[in-house]
């Protein structure tokens, strides 16, 4: 028994652990990658539907992008957008799709918190929570 163990190459323990760690990270990354792709395709579909509606409503109007007026209040906040989209306005539905798009990287951050908790990596749970706090601050209280 002891003879057999000595015959194995002398590798430091971390050399053996490292690929294992990577494999686990890779599994997590695959889930995250798919999550992001589904999120993007879903939001693109909503933007497309809203876009068709928007073109029916406003397709013949003149464009106004040369001067900056800023969006109306109903298209400037998360709650406003949801309300406006539910009333069936094309521009509201597009904006809702765009909000879902913005939410996909945020979902990735939330999923990473779970992954780091599972790996019992307290340091990175804290790091990830800081990132999440910054993202939510911007989205919810983004007025300076």
């Amino acid at each position: 028994m002891e003879e057999g163990q000595k015959a194995l190459p002398q590798t430091p323990t971390e050399e053996i652990k490292a690929p294992n760690q990577d494999w686990r990270d890779e599994q997590i990354e695959i889930v995250i990658g798919n999550l992001l792709r589904i999120g993007v395709l879903f939001s693109a579909a909503i933007v497309f539907i809203g876009g068709i509606l928007y073109l029916f409503e406003h397709g013949n109007e003149k464009i106004h992008y040369h001067t900056f007026r800023g969006e109306p209040p109903e298209l400037r906040s998360v709650t406003g957008v949801i309300h406006y989209a539910l009333q069936g306005h094309g521009s509201g539905i597009i904006q809702l799709g765009l909000l879902l798009l913005v939410a996909t990287p945020i979902a990735r951050v939330i999923f990473s918190i779970y992954a780091f908790i599972r790996e019992k990596d307290g340091l990175y749970v804290v790091v990830t929570l800081i990132v999440l706090a910054i993202l939510l601050y911007s989205l919810i209280w983004g007025h300076f």
């Binding site: 490292a18 992001l36 013949n60 992008y65 800023g70 400037r76 765009l98 939410a103 990287p105 993202l135």
Partner: protein, 278 residues
């Protein structure tokens, strides 16, 4: 111009930008703002809002493909995201308080740097030195697969990389771009992270960074649904197609052409900024 015609033209332009961006690896985001501002005379604030949205779409859309390569380091990514997201908040704040001409000039300078960077051959900055204590403490050192098996790499100069990433985030928030060029400077050159790891990690970070400024842009009314719709759909479809065509295309020639396009746009942005036309 009617909304319908405008939407179709913007979609085609964004599709081509996304296609070329993916084929050349330079990203389509950098040309969206000049395209909208210089060609379609869109106010630069609407332009950076729409561009930022397209940056999130390409980053998240490409993530699944990048994951298959399996080299990204989520600890490096997450740690540096603290810098890029807080930088993005600062950048988006500055965007609201400087005049559009200044934004155009800064944009032109960043384009000049991107064009210079893409004309230069890439070099690995691998350092043969004992592991950096801070990087070790932050568990950033890792391994990545090579033809000769798993290879270890160490990460260095964490504070320098962190500071540069703050700048990258600020530029992203100010200009509505992914700031790939500054991220290369921080991760490849300062922190000595191997390309395969830095490219995939950086793609993940771009979406999160852009999401940080997107909230502020939304609240400030920079994100116009009528404009962002064709830009997002065009860039996304173009970049997804580009990623598929990548194996077939002769990229070197395209890369040269695209960097010349970027150079021309850079000069035009700076000129228009200086003469106050934007």
């Amino acid at each position: 111009m009617t909304v319908l015609l405008f939407t179709i033209l913007i979609w085609i332009g964004s599709f081509l930008a996304g296609l070329l961006g993916a084929l050349t690896g330079l990203g389509g985001g950098v040309v969206i703002v000049p395209l909208l501002a210089l060609v379609f005379h869109v106010d630069i604030r609407y332009a950076i809002g729409a561009s930022l949205i397209s940056v999130i779409a390409t980053s998240s859309g490409a993530a699944a493909a990048y994951v298959k390569e399996g080299y990204s380091n989520i600890r490096i990514g997450m740690f540096l995201e603290v810098a890029t997201t807080s930088g993005a908040l600062v950048g988006a704040f500055i965007a609201a308080h400087v005049n559009p001409s200044t934004i155009a000039i800064i944009f032109g300078l960043v384009l000049l740097y991107s064009s210079y960077l893409s004309s230069k051959p890439k070099e690995e900055h691998m350092v043969e030195a004992p592991p950096d204590p801070l990087a070790t403490r932050l568990r950033m050192n890792g391994t990545y697969p090579t033809p000769e098996g798993m290879k270890r790499y160490n990460v260095y100069h964490v504070p320098t990389g962190f500071s540069l990433m703050f700048v990258a985030g600020a530029l992203s928030g100010l200009l509505g771009i992914g700031s790939g060029a500054v991220k290369v400077l921080a991760m490849d050159q300062a922190m000595a992270i191997p390309f395969k790891v830095s490219t995939t990690t950086s793609n993940f970070m771009i979406g999160v960074t852009a999401a940080a400024s997107a909230g502020i842009y939304l609240n400030r009314g920079y994100i116009d649904p009528g404009l962002a719709m064709p830009v997002m759909l065009g860039v996304l479809m173009g970049s997804l197609l580009g990623a598929r065509l990548l194996v077939l295309a002769r990229v070197k020639m395209l890369r040269t052409v695209f960097s010349l396009v970027i150079l021309a746009l850079a000069l035009e942005m700076i000129f228009n900024g200086l003469t106050g036309r934007l």
